[in-house]
Point group: none
Chain length 193, copies 4
DNA sequence: TATGAATGAGGCTTCATTCAT
DNA sequence: AATGAATGAAGCCTCATTCAT
């Protein structure tokens, strides 16, 4: 059943976030999933093959958070604020997960799947920008699809840096996100009064 | 001799870029470096211990390119253009290297060293921004240090995406970099006439 | 039904000849037989347990060919010629089968069944020799039962060698079989004028 | 050192003869050889890769026995008697070895090496026949090279049958070898008075 | 009688690291 | 400082067999 596949993915996410890709063994995953070692291979051809599924789940999670939190009718400024806050918060919650995951994906042959996994995320962001552009609240010169990627890229990269480089200092985090917010506001040509 | 250490690092870079972290074996590295298996351990305590050195070398390379190409006296617009072009070009040349490297670092315990390795890169960028700010060609409201990180983050992320997701299509690459350039110009508050 | 058992044996023969004993999996066999994995075990207690059945089928096949081709009334010379030709031809058709089969049997605990499987083959050959001896066309000093085994042994061994060691060269094959024929003719004391 | 390779082969022979190919594990071999598991793979690329070496050693052993026992100056009759006795005796001593080995070889990809491994054995036999032919004690019509193969084939096949099918009954064994001897004597056209 | 998902023991192999030379 | 043969722990995966349906 699909249920078992889901359980494997869930178990893999959990193990991965606590042990890191290098040290995650299939035996750990199956133990946590409560299945036999061989069963794993009924659903995934190899250890690395779970990675894309994990990424997918995580992107979905991010998206569902965003859809829940970001009011489609709100002003772009508020949307951005919520967006940034949500991504940072998720990044913070998931801690190692994102980095480890990327590491996992990068070291697998599944690197190329990244694109399709991120597709819904990009799409959501494009739509957001599209509406704002229609309303005239962001500059008309930008291309919504390409800018969607740039935005996601910069927000995630900023979020990663906070985790990676800084001790998580509430104060500093706040200042960073403000800087990021202002950066983006200007980039999008949002009127700053 | 230090020469041997350098040879190991160089060999490691080469092997890593062609095989990926997961499949890079110490035996490959030493073979390419033309030394004996045991010799590796005279210079590095473990396989993962080369990673930071590799990152350092690559950051240095990027920096030296930037220092050579970016005219400190030029207008910020031109500096940005050159900056973007250089990073994209390097990313393209190095292909998998960056991603694999990050993966390598991420999966090692050396993740935390990323900060210090990138320090000179951030510093260079800060200085660039600082000068522009002093000249009044970028908005005074931005914090040069934090913005330096954001800039490096977005440029690298954009460059990675081009390699990862798109077939490398000259035309599309051009459009992407233009979009990025405009994005940044706005973000920095550079006067667009 | 017995039909299903036969289908399993047939499938096993086919898989075995193309993949070799070591690489033949029960899953391959059932796939080819068009049945479920578990069904196999309703007809055979273990994987190795098909081996004797396979051998039996192949011996039967050989025998039926021989019975069809070798004229019981013909002169022993002609009978031998046909015999050799038939075995060589089968060996050639079946290619790896014989060797692989023997390997399969040998590596199983079923080695001892070989005797009973070959029994009808030996019997046929004994009868042939017996008649010739009664007619006085082969030497009276030979023991028909033991000689039957020797004959089958040498013919099969020669046939295997042709397949295994030599490139299958029509010309050489002809010369080999001639040499074998002459060898046997002398061994049996058939008058050579 | 070559010494270690030899030790591995020796250990493999011993383990193989007592456990059979299917049940022989690399771990058994290295344990008996007194080396580490990994060391095995410095000398052989895989478990199956020892098989040809084993076969080689066994052919060499047979040959050395034959060279020691068969008097090159003796009459062909006596040479044959000794030859048969020696092969049967070896077969008996080695018991499972030969069968298991063949099984091992057959189930490996090394089947084709059989030819080169047997080459010295064939050569020795050809020489023996050649001398006898020169002396005029065997029929001039036979081809020494091809007949050498036939002879080795029939003797080995007969020897195997004794082990495989019959309880080892001294009396019967004697009768079998006599029958074989007579068979061969006729086949070679040796004068029987 | 038939199914096929699930099992789980266990082997082969890899490869980072060591150490005697 | 350099070597490279030897080590051996450890993990991925296979696949014969079982069993609930």
């Amino acid at each position: 059943m699909e249920d078992k596949k889901a359980r494997i993915i869930q178990a893999a996410i959990e193990v991965l976030s606590s042990k890191g890709i290098e040290k995650t063994k299939v035996s750990d995953i199956v133990k946590r999933a409560g299945i036999a070692q061989g069963t794993f291979y009924l659903y995934f051809p190899s250890k690395l093959a779970v990675m894309p599924s994990i990424a997918e789940v995580m992107v979905q999670k991010t998206l569902s958070y965003l859809e829940k939190n970001v009011d489609p009718e709100a002003a772009i400024q508020e949307q951005l604020q919520v967006l940034i806050r949500t991504v940072f918060q998720l990044q913070n919650e998931e801690r190692e997960k994102t980095a480890l995951l990327f590491a996992g994906l990068a070291s697998s042959e599944y690197l190329k799947e990244w694109e399709s996994i991120y597709a819904p995320y990009y799409k959501w962001m494009s739509t957001l920008l599209g509406k704002a552009q229609a309303r005239g609240t962001i500059r008309s010169s930008l291309d919504v699809n390409r800018t969607a990627r740039l935005l996601i890229g910069i927000i995630e990269s900023a979020a990663e840096q906070i985790y990676l480089y800084d001790q998580i200092d509430e104060m500093e985090a706040k200042v960073q996100t403000d800087e990021l917010y202002t950066f983006i506001k200007h980039a999008l040509g949002i009127e700053v009064l």
